[in-house]
């Protein structure tokens, strides 16, 4: 059986010898080079874009603006963003581009208004024979602006009549409302009520490979782009939509991808490069600088929340109330979906009979927010878990015990008034983490300025796209040979962003076909050879692809049995359907299934400087079935360190919508000297009854609850709760001082 063992990843050799090609490494003879002119203003009307001086630069081949886009719009969920913002008068013709929002029955198309709504809007694509000419031309483009008032916070966007996006009334993209039981009565009857405000800033993905792509016309005349993304077929659709071309005329290929973490789910270079190749018929390459990367893709949603939690003296939670606003930036990206997941996590994986949740995604002129590992759950669970940790303190109870008492079990009715999907293993996962943690008592420190403490957190992550999204994943298998199967060609589109997906695909295909690994030949990440696998996100890829491979293998083997040579099968896997939730009550069945996680963190706080060091971090993850344990450990460790960054280090700063941490010298991610000194991963395997081979998912779990575990550990060390992320030394030091002056 090829499942459950640590096959070294299949692309490791190419990567260690420097032979793996990332998009920026690709080269074609006669290729042109492109650069973007960015808005760099958070809110302004573009009156004119004067290209005359730029066009005169030797080597410049063409400059494209929004007026060149056949349909100047894109968006993963809603077509609500312009590909390039056109001037009101662009010198050639008045732009007729419109926003269409296909999911809106009224299809309120809106006259194009020439407005940039954040600093990372694209205004023009300069294509030249070499990069220097493109850069020089870009710097010679003269834009005439009229600055508009900037709404740079949730509160300013909610407290104004000024509507930033024509489609989003009241500057709200999406609201969720969940009502279960009677919270008012329950709070009135509760012995203990915990009430507090929480917030967090944005987080930048900072994958090491900045955006890049190469577009060209392939041998079959298709516009082809090699790019790093997370969902080949979605990229293909969005390109085809903006260029108004039939799908078959667009081809998307992913070479090696230098990390993604959700940050490559939306369009970066895809549409503009395709436009250039379509119009010029030549290969065009573009590489973004790090600064452009930070400017050009979305961030994790900043949020503010107010939460109440009521319990009886014996530790039973009886009521939870949360209001939460996320800062979406000016366009949706995936904000409505992220909000759904924040809503479904903000009261935690706990059995609470009375729940009231109100959430909203708010439009501002800050950089757009969207998908980032955890997808709303890090925000939701930071609130939920910190509330539970405070409850444990107020009750004088062990925080693990409080979670055991209230944690979901099979049959628990959730806030959505439907049962938890079968196979709930929350308590088992918490116990696994607790056993390991308690075996290693917190060691004391003698230094007078240092304090040590321990904190806990747990959480749940939905697997797959939720709230009624028609989830699906395709696989094609072709079996070659005569008497015996000699070779199986397995075609899959799923993206390996670094997580090891392709290695897992190989193992799953070998298992499903009962063939040795060497007989499997993978054909990967190319819309021309595979059906859609869906996105490499939402911890869904292994779960969904397993279903697709398993189905295709069954059918291919059946065809083989019928003596077809080669035996061919194409299979579309569809997991169980979910539903939207009721707009008034939240009732529904929004998630396919969950995976569960529990963590403990031991920290040391320098009470004078506010520096927090993580001594030990233990993370238990129920992945259902570990296809490749070594790669799973890699996911856990990498995610924990990103969560560490979110909790302590990564401070994305904007002022008036303008990014102030636009480089890796100002936006700091953890170095090898920063990470928890000891990290221990525990793989729990409780097969998920809904999934193939029992697989759940893992990629997001470990990140989500690092922050609440660290915050609780800091409290344990110092007696001070810090409700705002990240815990920069300054923030910690200030909180500790404030506490001294108050007591």
């Amino acid at each position: 059986m090829s499942l459950g063992f640590s096959l070294p990843r299949i692309d490791a050799r190419a990567k260690v010898i420097g032979a793996a090609d990332y998009p920026g490494d690709l080269h074609m003879d006669g290729m042109l080079h492109a650069r973007i002119l960015w808005s760099r203003r958070p809110h302004a009307r573009v009156l004119d874009i004067d290209l005359s001086a730029a066009r005169a630069v030797p080597g410049v081949v063409e400059i494209f603006t929004g007026a060149d886009m056949p349909r100047n719009e894109y968006g993963l969920v809603l077509f609500d963003s312009p590909v390039m913002v056109s001037a009101m008068r662009d010198g050639r013709r008045i732009s007729t581009s419109r926003f269409s929002l296909p999911h809106d029955p009224a299809d309120r198309t809106l006259a194009f208004d020439g407005i940039v709504r954040h600093v990372g809007e694209k205004l023009a694509l300069i294509v030249a024979e070499n990069e220097e000419s493109a850069t020089r031309a870009r710097d010679l483009i003269r834009v005439t602006w009229e600055d508009l008032p900037v709404l740079d916070s949730i509160s300013s966007a909610l407290g104004t009549d000024q509507q930033l996006h024509p489609h989003y009334e009241g500057n709200v993209i999406q609201r969720y409302r969940v009502r279960r039981g009677d919270v008012d009565a329950a709070f009135a009857a509760a012995d203990i009520v915990i009430e507090d405000d929480y917030s967090a800033g944005a987080q930048e993905h900072a994958y090491l490979q900045p955006e890049a792509g190469l577009s060209y016309i392939d041998e079959q005349g298709r516009i082809t782009i090699q790019v790093a993304g997370q969902w080949t077929h979605e990229d293909q659709e969005q390109i085809a939509h903006a260029l108004q071309l039939p799908l078959e005329q667009v081809r998307v290929i992913y070479p090696a991808i230098g990390g993604a973490f959700g940050g490559r789910e939306d369009m970066s270079v895809q549409i503009v490069l395709s436009l250039a190749t379509w119009r010029l018929g030549r290969p065009v390459k573009m590489i973004w600088s790090r600064e452009e990367s930070i400017l050009g893709h979305h961030k994790r949603h900043p949020f503010v929340a107010h939460a109440r939690l009521g319990a009886t003296r014996d530790g039973r939670i009886v009521a939870a109330q949360v209001t939460m606003h996320t800062d979406a930036g000016p366009y949706n990206y995936t904000s409505n979906k992220v909000l759904g997941n924040a809503t479904s996590t903000c009261t935690g994986p706990y059995d609470i009979p009375n729940v009231a949740i109100d959430t909203a995604a708010v439009v501002t002129n800050n950089p757009p927010s969207g998908a980032f590992r955890g997808f709303g759950a890090p925000q939701g669970l930071f609130v939920a878990e910190t509330q539970v940790n405070k409850l444990a303190v107020a009750l004088g109870m062990d925080p693990v015990e409080v979670r055991r008492i209230n944690g979901w079990r099979d049959g628990t009715i959730t806030a959505f008034a439907t049962p938890v999907p079968a196979g709930c293993s929350l308590v088992k996962t918490i116990d696994a983490c607790a056993a390991e943690t308690l075996a290693l008592p917190l060691s004391p420190t003698s230094a007078p300025e240092l304090r040590r403490g321990r904190g806990w957190a747990a959480g749940h992550k939905n697997i797959g796209f939720s709230f009624g999204f028609p989830e699906r994943s395709e696989a094609t298998i072709e079996l070659h040979g005569a008497a015996e199967i000699e070779r199986a060609v397995v075609s899959l589109a799923g993206a390996d962003c670094g997580q090891g997906a392709h290695t897992a695909f190989l193992q799953m295909a070998a298992a499903a076909l009962d063939l040795p690994l060497k007989k499997i030949q993978l054909q990967l990440s190319d819309t021309a050879t595979s059906g859609s696998s869906g996105s490499a996100s939402a911890s869904r890829l292994t779960y969904m692809t397993a279903g697709a491979i398993d189905g295709a293998a069954r059918e291919a083997l059946a065809a083989w049995g019928r003596e077809e040579r080669p035996a061919h099968a194409h299979f579309v896997y569809r997991p169980r359907r979910t539903t939207k939730i009721d707009p008034e009550t939240g009732a529904g069945d929004p998630n396919i299934t969950y995976a569960y996680v529990a963590e403990s963190a031991d920290v040391e706080v320098d009470i004078e400087t506010g520096h927090v060091r993580v001594l030990n971090l233990i993370c238990a993850d129920d992945v259902g079935r570990a296809v490749n344990p070594q790669q799973i450990i890699g996911q856990i460790e990498g995610a924990v360190v990103q969560g560490y960054g979110y909790a302590l280090l990564e401070n994305f700063v904007t002022t008036g919508g303008v990014i102030r941490t636009g480089h890796l010298s100002t936006y700091l991610i953890p170095s090898v000297l920063d990470v928890p000194e000891r990290m221990h991963s525990i793989i729990v395997e409780t097969p998920d009854p809904s999934g193939t081979y029992g697989i759940r998912g893992v990629a997001e779990l470990p990140l989500m609850i690092v922050a609440p575990a660290i915050v609780a550990a800091v409290y344990d060390a110092t007696g001070v709760w810090i409700n705002d992320l990240p815990l920069t030394p300054e923030r910690v030091a200030r909180a500790l001082r404030k506490d001294v002056t108050h007591s």
């Binding site: 990567k15 260690v16 490494d25 790090r290 997580q499 010298s665 700091l668 920069t728």
Partner: protein, 456 residues
């Protein structure tokens, strides 16, 4: 980028070039600061006069005058591993080890750092606490200034456009004098100071303080001395009360600003904490931990138009005159294994070996590679056999997206070349300038340990 790139054959030649291209020509060694400024467009293109090939300018010596002398080409790495500095200027060693990443420290010089004159600079602070002087030479003469008088404002110094800094000197600390440097940053590696502090305490046999110096960084427009605070220590036993008083006075003397890293209030509050800790450290004369070894340089001072990349000669063409080494390797040599992740010396994805030393190729002018030996990731494999560290990366799952991998492997290969049995701390230090966003570093460390174990 830069306009012209010169490699003078002598110091005199450099002075002539400087005079000829004044006022905006710049003497460079590492050029690490300048390239970032050019790249961001915060500095107008100007001529660069690279003096790194001039012999004899990289010495660290103890002079007859009782002073330690640092030549203008002394890098941070060289000072950090200098016995002489460890003995007579511990604060300087401590500071040098906190500058940027190892790849930067191998290229960036202390002299360059003094001239860039960042108010958050790491090495000016200890040199001020050591009462250093700088000697400047132009065609019209030579002058020596105390470092404390050298700075006139934010990033402004008394250096004239036609002058070269040719010597840094400070009195060697005797047996009864100790120095210490402490820095508060937001990260443990590669961090810019939020506040830094260097102190020097000299005491007589009775333990009475006979001399005290306190220098502070990132709390004023220039690195500053806290003279009042120094004064209250004189004649005391540097007891807790005296130290507390000195720390308070030092805090009161600051005039910090708020920026994206920290507020003025935090800087003001942290100054006394740091001063107290640094004074205590100097009193206890806490020992240094052994740094990661730096490989022996394979540099030859030869002038040829070609660069030996992985043993093959590549001409650095006219057209590459304005490129960085990274761009040249990727675009002109077709060696795309070396990656660009930031182009500002922060991520280490571009790490290559320049004359045996790991450097950030994004911060090296391509013409600097003429006559040099460069090794990239493509050279690690011998025939079909992976380098042991490459194999360990595969075995230990130290590779995820793999974009950081070539840089990490080059840092690692250099480490094992010079130290087959590095300590855990040395391994961490050696890769502290290589960021990885995927793995959390644990499997990478395991791979290093596997190689160490196999060689042990």
């Amino acid at each position: 980028m830069w306009r012209d790139y010169f490699e003078p054959a002598s110091l005199e030649n450099a002075l002539d070039l400087l005079a000829a291209h004044a006022p905006e020509a710049r003497i460079v060694a590492g050029a690490t600061d300048l390239i970032v400024e050019f790249d961001r467009g915060t500095r107008a293109p100007c001529a660069l006069i690279d003096i790194t090939r001039l012999p004899g300018l990289d010495a660290i010596t103890l002079g007859d005058d009782g002073c330690v002398h640092l030549g203008p080409l002394v890098t941070h790495s060289a000072a950090a591993s200098s016995e002489l500095c460890a003995q007579h200027a511990r604060a300087l060693v401590q500071a040098c080890r906190e500058v940027g990443a190892p790849q930067i420290r191998n290229r960036a010089t202390i002299a360059g750092n003094l001239i860039t004159a960042s108010p958050a600079n790491d090495t000016i602070t200890p040199l001020m606490a050591l009462d250093a002087t700088v000697t400047l030479r132009s065609r019209s003469g030579t002058r020596t200034l105390p470092l404390a008088k050298f700075y006139t404002g934010v990033r402004r110094t008394l250096l004239q456009p036609d002058e070269i800094l040719i010597d840094i000197a400070f009195p060697a600390l005797g047996a009864h004098a100790h120095s210490a440097y402490l820095k508060l940053g937001l990260r443990r590696a590669q961090a810019i100071s939020v506040v830094n502090c260097a102190v020097m305490l000299a005491r007589n046999d009775a333990g009475v303080v006979t001399d005290a110096r306190i220098a502070l960084g990132a709390v004023a427009p220039t690195i500053m001395r806290a003279y009042d605070a120094e004064g209250v220590l004189l004649g005391t036993h540097a007891d807790e009360a005296a130290i507390t008083r000195a720390a308070e006075l030092a805090g009161a003397a600051t005039s910090p600003i708020s920026d994206v890293r920290a507020s003025a209030d935090y800087r003001r509050d942290m100054t006394p904490v740091l001063v107290r800790r640094a004074l205590t450290a100097a009193l206890h004369n806490e020992p240094l931990v052994a740094p990661a070894p730096i490989p022996a340089s394979t540099a030859q001072h030869i002038h040829t138009a070609a660069c030996a990349v992985n043993g093959h000669n590549f001409a650095v063409a006219e057209s590459a005159e304005h490129k960085t080494l990274l761009r040249w390797l990727r675009e002109d040599c077709d060696l795309t294994g070396t990656k660009e992740g930031c182009a500002e010396g922060e991520c280490g994805a571009c790490t290559v070996l320049l004359d045996g030393h790991p450097v950030m190729a994004c911060l090296v002018p391509a013409p600097r590679a003429r006559g040099a030996q460069v090794r990239t990731i493509e050279s690690l494999e011998q025939g079909d056999a992976l380098h042991p560290l490459q194999q360990a990366f595969v075995d230990c799952a130290a590779v995820q997206c793999g974009y950081c991998t070539p840089g990490l492997l080059m840092s690692g290969a250099a480490l094992f070349d010079s130290e087959p049995q590095p300590s855990d701390a040395q391994i961490r230090e050696a890769i502290s300038g290589n960021l990885c966003r995927c793995t959390g570093y644990y499997r990478i460390l395991e791979a290093f340990e596997q190689v160490r174990g196999a060689r042990g």
